[in-house]
Every structure is written in C-alpha cells, then in structure tokens.
Symmetry: C2
Subunit: 137 residues, 2 copies
Amino acid sequence: MNGDTEAVLAANRAFYEAFEARDLDAMSVVWEHTDRATCTHPGWTTLRGWGQVAASWYALFQAAQRLQFILTDERVDVAGDVAWVSLNENILGVEAGATVAAVNVFVRDDDGGPHRGEWRMVVHHASVVTDSSPTIQ
Amino acid sequence: MNGDTEAVLAANRAFYEAFEARDLDAMSVVWEHTDRATCTHPGWTTLRGWGQVAASWYALFQAAQRLQFILTDERVDVAGDVAWVSLNENILGVEAGATVAAVNVFVRDDDGGPHRGEWRMVVHHASVVTDSSPTIQ
C-alpha cells in the first residue's frame, strides 16, 4: 500500500469516526467546504454545497440514535489528485442492523495553505442494500 | 462550459443512451474495462471489476422492461484526469415512475491508444429517492 492510499484510507476512517462520534467539528474537517461538496444519504435526494451538507450532519447528529460502523470490502483507487473509496458500511444501532453500500470521493488539497496535501471529501453517496443475494454476482 | 465538461457530459449521456437502448456494445464502450470498474445499482450490493459489471448489464438488458431516463440537476466536476457527475435519473417505465439519485465517476483514458483522451466510466452508484421531502433541504 503506498502513501496516497494510506492517506485516503485515513481520511475515509476519519469520516466514519466523526459520524460515530456525532462530532460536527471533526466532520467539518473531513469535508471540502465548496460548492462541489455533494452528499446523498440513503434514500435522500442529493444535497449540494457544504452549507446543505453541513446542515444534514447537524440534523443527523441531533437524532437520538448512535450508530456504529463496521467497514468491509474497502477498495481505494487514486488517480492524480482524486481518490475514491468504495466499501460496505455494516451499521449497528438500527433495528436488526443494515448494510449500506457507499462510495466516497476525495480530492487532494492544493490551496497552498497549512492543509496542503491533505485529502478532503467531496462526494459521499450511500444506499441501503435491500437485496442481499442479487441474481448477478 | 469548457471542453472537458462537455466531453464528460457527452460520456455521461452515452451511458444513459446505452441503458435506454439496452445496447451492451455501447455500454461496453462507456466503461473502463478494469478491476476498478465499480457499479452499485439501486438496492444492490456493489459489483466490482468489468466482468461483474458487464454481467449485470447483460442481465438487466434481458429484462422485459424498457426504461426511459429524464436527467435533471446534472452537475459536472473535473479535477485533472478524473471527473464526476451527480444527477437525478427520473425514470419512466417503472410503476408510477421513480427518481434515482446517482453519481458517475469518469477517468480520462491515458493508455496512448486510439481512444487516448476519451472519458471512461469507473464508478456508477445509484439509489432510489424514497423521501421526496427530507427534513433537511
């Protein structure tokens, strides 16, 4: 595993740690604060721009329920300054548990500031797996 | 709109045209034939590698039902040789219609062959929008 892959995996894990901890500050560090920040929670319409995305995390973190994520089948691909992670979120804390398929896209920060080189989330798209044994596998 | 954005939008449209036409050859041209090809149909587990992805299109195109896509809210972002499109697929042909939120990731072909410079799909992730008016919008 090379350095980029490790750094992307670390950014990806920071996302789920912020989600589990319901820590809006930590979630804010994970994301790029731009118009292209795009988030699709399971079953939701797509939210665009950091303002909308942040508001969704604020609302989700107000909810009573704590979730725990067991991440499986992680695959990281890096192409230049963009990387994407596909994985399964095995979620404990919802009735009978749930498996959510997700893809997370990250972009390497190139703004020349103190965070230069760090990976920021620009896309999170998650969907509940409803058919555990599709006919095509 | 610059040339990259136009080319990515064209690749994205070619994907939906192949889907509507149930044309496996056209779908094959859209996708990168690599291990990183990743496809999550609504409610499905994630399929990885062009072999699995191609098999899913083959099976879907065998189904009797023709679908028609009206694409709305397309947003294209390009970063180097990677681009992603987020959009809504408004699908006619299923009972009462459906809205599917999708993100499609493309990579610019750099293999030096005759297709050098063309954009190929590496990720398609689609999920049905079940809540048309989430509390956070």
